[in-house]
Symmetry: C2
Subunit: 149 residues, 2 copies
């Protein structure tokens, strides 16, 4: 419980896995954000371990919140970058979430369509028998299934 300068204080610098556990994410994820320069832990000279303080914890919480809202890791870098230059990142945030939401809608309808095809296939195949492959047919289930709706 001594700092490098010898003064008594509550321990604030934690190591990667301790912080990860506190945030409910994996150590690898924390390392990843460290690697790409989104957090800047201090390297402990004596053992080479990285030590994370409150600032890093807060930063990681921010990253988590943003990820939950569908921002990409790159988006978050942009947002952080603007904030660090003292600029309000809000306009960018608004613009980006519009984009990401649009993409999510897109992705959503593709997922629905895929699910529909898959369900149709499962239904269709339920009353069809297995068949050994022939020279020009790998799997008749797949090859004879055509989705037309």
């Amino acid at each position: 419980m001594y700092s490098r300068s010898g003064r008594y204080f509550q321990e604030r610098e934690v190591r990667v896995n301790q912080l990860a556990q506190k945030l409910g994410i994996s150590g690898d994820t924390v390392r990843y954000y460290t690697r790409i320069g989104y957090v800047h832990p201090v390297k402990n000279k004596s053992n080479g371990y990285k030590e994370y303080g409150e600032k890093e914890e807060h930063r990681l919480r921010f990253i988590q919140s943003a990820r939950q809202l569908g921002f990409t890791v790159e988006d978050i870098g942009q947002i952080i970058g603007e904030a660090e230059k003292g600029k309000a990142p809000c306009p960018t945030v608004r613009r980006l979430i519009d984009q990401r939401l649009h993409e999510t809608e897109q992705h959503f309808s593709e997922t629905i369509a895929l699910r529909k095809r898959m369900q149709a296939a499962v239904n269709d195949w339920h009353r069809k028998p297995d068949k050994a492959p022939t020279g020009d047919m790998i799997c008749h289930l797949i090859e004879n299934f055509s989705y037309t709706k």
Copy 2:
């Protein structure tokens, strides 16, 4: 229009981009399936180009159909492998699509939840102003948004 043996015949061996265009996919995609050994074009000795015949075309159509149904590339390898050993791949196909469908459902509900969060954020932010970052706040929109519904 001469074969290597000098006989006259309709050209059947095509090159990567010709085949890709015919199938409506990218040349890179065809190259990818070639690289991982799902199709085996013949290497033209004189120019090093790979030449694709009907067999490869059929194989690629099969791969496309399977991908459309949500099978992973690895699934497809397994299916092809079984078929090539003369075994009916149908049981595997049925098992795999059940798995993939389940995953798609999972993914689907995650996508819905994400969309809901995003929409809620957009709504919430609509009547909130921009704010410059402070020492302990990167973006108040993101940090003050809590999804509780």
